[in-house]
């Protein structure tokens, strides 16, 4: 068994993996640069800036003061100058400071990313634990009651907006039953149990939609594989059905599943904004949202940059996973 795994690794092209990774990472540089530039320009195309947002309905800030503030924030300088300065900072690992709070964006992101990663990982866990078994069941029992139930679940799961589900979950579990805490965040190093209890509802909200997506893709790709000759062969040679499904069919059916899971995980890393807001989780999404609401340019730029990097990284991991799942995929 061990021998076989090593073989697979070699076949997967471990020797090529190093240079492949380097190449992919090098390719990521222009991608990320493009993202930085696009975000920099796009948020400045949106009318208004941090000053008009900060002024709000404060009686004490007069129109004259607005111009002073704008100068203070350096927003009166030409765009190329602002961009060059920002890029210079990024190259040195300095993402600038929030215009609103004055806190360094890089440090804030580092503090918030673990929360978002935890939420995404737990959501994914929920999704996999539900999606894969249900998908397999639906494929194996095709056209029967279990399949219809699973397909129904997929329809419901894909149509329910996660924020609506989140509010329903809070109302039901926290308010009606009172078994789970409603919102707020507790850091895992402070109290791991408390942290996990508080993460159940957010993870369910995020995981539910994803579970539906995974169910659908597992079902369809497994169905496709189940019609293949080698599956018929496996059955013909007398293998137990469970072994046929799990060892022979699933392995080949997993490629599209991994693709979808990878993409979804990438989206989760940047896209749990609403869930983070509803459950008061101090993640990257909520940070970005606050930045957007206030036109806090360094915050938006930093958050988008971090999300883009995470996406690139996840894609890379997905690509590497392909090689392990299907030795025929090589990295030349």
């Amino acid at each position: 068994m061990l021998h076989g795994r090593q073989n697979a690794l070699k076949l997967a092209g471990v020797t090529f993996l190093g240079s492949y990774l380097t190449r992919r990472l090098a390719l990521a540089v222009p991608t990320v640069f493009g993202v930085v530039l696009a975000v920099f320009l796009l948020i400045r195309l949106v009318p208004g800036d941090v000053v008009t947002q900060l002024v709000g309905l404060e009686a004490t800030i007069s129109p004259k003061r607005v111009d002073e503030l704008r100068r203070l924030f350096g927003l009166d300088r030409p765009l190329p100058v602002q961009f060059a300065e920002y890029l210079g900072g990024v190259a040195q690992g300095d993402l600038g400071k929030s215009l609103r709070t004055g806190l360094p964006v890089g440090r804030e992101l580092l503090r918030r990313f673990p929360v978002t990663i935890e939420l995404a990982a737990l959501g994914l866990l929920v999704a996999l634990c539900v999606g894969v078994p249900v998908g397999v069941l639906a494929a194996v029992r095709r056209g029967r009651a279990a399949d219809y139930l699973a397909t129904g679940f997929v329809m419901v799961g894909l149509s329910i907006p996660s924020f609506w589900l989140a509010i329903l979950l809070i109302l039901f579990f926290a308010l009606r039953l009172g078994v789970l805490p409603p919102t707020a965040y507790i850091a895992p190093r402070e109290n791991l149990i408390g942290n996990l209890l508080h993460m159940i509802l957010p993870a369910l909200s995020v995981g539910f939609v994803l579970a539906a997506a995974i169910t659908r893709i597992v079902r369809s790709s497994l169905l496709e594989v189940l019609n293949r000759h080698y599956v018929r062969t496996a059955r013909a040679k007398g293998l137990a059905e469970g072994r046929v499904i799990l060892h022979h069919a699933m392995r080949n059916a997993l490629i599209p599943v991994v693709t979808v899971v990878g993409l979804q995980f990438g989206t989760l890393l940047g896209g749990t904004v609403i869930i983070e807001q509803i459950f008061s989780l101090p993640g990257v999404g909520r940070y970005a949202l606050e930045g957007i609401n206030l036109r806090d340019y360094p915050v938006i730029q930093g958050a988008v940059l971090a999300i883009a990097l995470a996406f690139v990284l996840v894609n890379l991991i997905v690509d590497v996973c392909y090689g392990f799942l299907d030795p025929r995929i090589r990295y030349e």
């Binding site: 009318p47 009686a59 004490t60 919102t183």
Partner: protein, 519 residues
């Protein structure tokens, strides 16, 4: 098991009944000491240094860590804070404050008049870059004289000084903390009832009871009652209300109008508040024809049904009808006898005809789509003014586009308002004096200007009140805008939380006298 539970219930209920019938002699009268209040806040503070922030969130979480020289009471009066008493010279130039003795900072050092001088000068110093440097623009010098006296000399008489001194961001700070750390963002050290313990952004900010606090309640017992306040950040309004109902927090701020009714229906919860220090009006550009004619503006005021706007656009609870001018009813300085409190369409039509528009006219109403409370009244105003022939065309824009446009006064009609502390000068001078920065309606009335200038020059409360009454009467005569309503602000508490009082300037000084029943 079942029997045991029954027995327990009987015992508990019996105990409760006995407790109600025979107040135990051991229990001290009045509020109970102890307990942790978990408070659900909408947003994080914007930095912790009160001198460097304008954010309401910073004020509300730090104001109980610090003290001000003069305090603003829940009745809207100026009462002693770190200054036990004060006197004003005849000419209104020299203000002398007697500083309370023996008050300690949370680091153990006794507060002195030098700390007061240092704190006010820190705000005034341009190098501090305090956003409230203008608060003390009329101050010439601040000096300590004697062991417990501070003298503030003004450039010219300026009675709103007390309002500026009572603003709970203009607090008295410990100099050594600033010289050690550079600012007060990391180690807030004040003389207030609660000591700062720690802050984790987007999670919580914790305060604990300071044993040294100077203020006592009506029975001579030391304040505050609570052992600890934990501010937790719950940005979503529905989630905040749910957290309160589920009991994971005992106090929440910013209850949206849409949630007020649901919370009022919950027997475990009480909604507190209402009044807040702001006004919302139909702004009229006074220099654009036909609105430069006072009769047109009066006609509009007579045709506007303010109650209908509050009832339909603001779910009844989102606003309090403006019965006077910019100063909210309930404020010590407010007049509430507006001739426009009753809709009079005949009179409105007559005025319009006298102004030369018997058939009305068309006009643009420019509103922001960002804040519902400023946008939803638009259609109702449109329907109301249509009754006297004024046909409004509504256009809406995002706040970031809208505000600069209105600041440049490039509009004819709009719906807007400002919020302030609660001083009448904030409401009247800042918005209507012909030279004031926020006079966005181009109102220029020499008589009004003279009244509010005079009011700045007298420090006697009664005289001020009389002058401001005249100034408000002038506003009602000349109608620079149609005053419609004052936005409300609600807090909500669980029934176990007692004694929390809502402040009309939405400060949370009420937490100083808040207590919790036994758990």
């Amino acid at each position: 098991m079942y029997v045991l539970r029954r027995l327990l219930t009987v015992l508990l209920v019996g105990g409760l009944v006995a407790g109600i019938l025979m107040p135990s002699a051991a229990q001290a009268p009045g509020p109970r000491y102890g307990g942790t209040l978990r408070a659900g806040m909408q947003t994080d503070p914007v930095g912790l240094d009160p001198h460097l922030s304008t954010a309401t969130a910073t004020r509300n979480m730090m104001e109980n860590v610090y003290d001000t020289l003069v305090m603003y009471s829940s009745q809207g009066r100026y009462i002693p804070g770190l200054a036990e008493s004060w006197t004003t010279s005849e000419d209104g130039i020299t203000w002398t404050f007697q500083i309370r003795r023996g008050v300690k900072f949370h680091n153990g050092r006794v507060m002195t008049p030098e700390d007061v001088v240092y704190s006010i000068n820190r705000i005034r110093d341009p190098n501090t870059k305090s956003p409230r440097v203008q608060d003390f623009a009329e101050v010439d010098t601040v000096s300590a004289s004697g062991p417990n006296t501070v003298v503030i000399k003004l450039k010219r008489p300026f009675s709103p000084l007390l309002a500026k001194l009572s603003s709970s961001l203009n607090v008295i700070v410990a100099r050594e903390v600033v010289s050690r750390d550079g600012d007060l963002h990391t180690n807030p050290t004040g003389t207030g009832p609660f000591r700062f313990v720690g802050y984790t952004p987007q999670q919580r900010l914790t305060l604990v009871r300071s044993g040294d606090y100077w203020e006592v309640d009506a029975n001579g017992r030391r304040l505050p009652y609570l052992d600890r306040i934990e501010f937790v950040f719950l940005p979503d309004a529905v989630a905040r209300a749910t957290a309160l109902r589920a009991g994971s927090v005992q106090w929440i701020e910013y209850v949206p109008s849409s949630e007020v009714k649901a919370l009022r229906a919950d027997p475990n919860v009480e909604v507190v508040g209402g009044l807040s220090a702001n006004f919302r009006s139909l702004y009229i550009n006074n220099q654009v024809a036909p609105f430069n004619n006072v009769k047109v503006r009066q006609a509009m005021a007579y045709a506007t049904d303010k109650k209908e706007i509050v009832d339909t656009a603001l779910f009844e609870v989102g606003g309090i009808v403006a019965t006077g001018t910019a100063i909210p009813p309930g404020n010590f300085f407010a007049t509430t006898r507006s001739p426009y409190n009753k809709v009079d369409l005949d009179r409105a039509k007559r005025l319009l005809a006298e102004a030369g528009h018997p058939n009305g006219f068309e006009a643009d109403l420019y509103v922001t789509s960002t804040y519902d409370f400023l946008r939803t009244p638009a259609e109702i105003i449109q329907a109301q003014l249509a009754k006297i022939g004024i046909r409004l065309k509504i256009t809406a824009a995002d706040w970031s586009v809208y505000l600069p446009t209105v600041f440049q006064k490039k509009y004819v009609l709009t719906i807007l308002g400002t919020s302030g502390q609660s001083d009448p000068d904030d409401f009247l001078y800042n918005n209507f004096h012909s030279k004031a920065g926020l006079n966005l309606v181009n109102y220029a009335d020499p008589q009004f200007d003279q009244l509010v200038e005079q009011a700045r020059a007298v420090s006697n409360e009664g005289q001020r009140k009389r002058l401001y009454e005249q100034a408000q009467a002038r506003l009602l005569d000349t109608v620079p805008m149609v005053f419609i309503y004052h936005s409300t602000q609600f807090e909500a508490v669980r029934r176990t939380v007692r004694g929390f009082e809502h402040w009309p300037n939405t400060s949370y000084l009420g937490l100083r006298r808040t207590w919790m029943t036994a758990p």
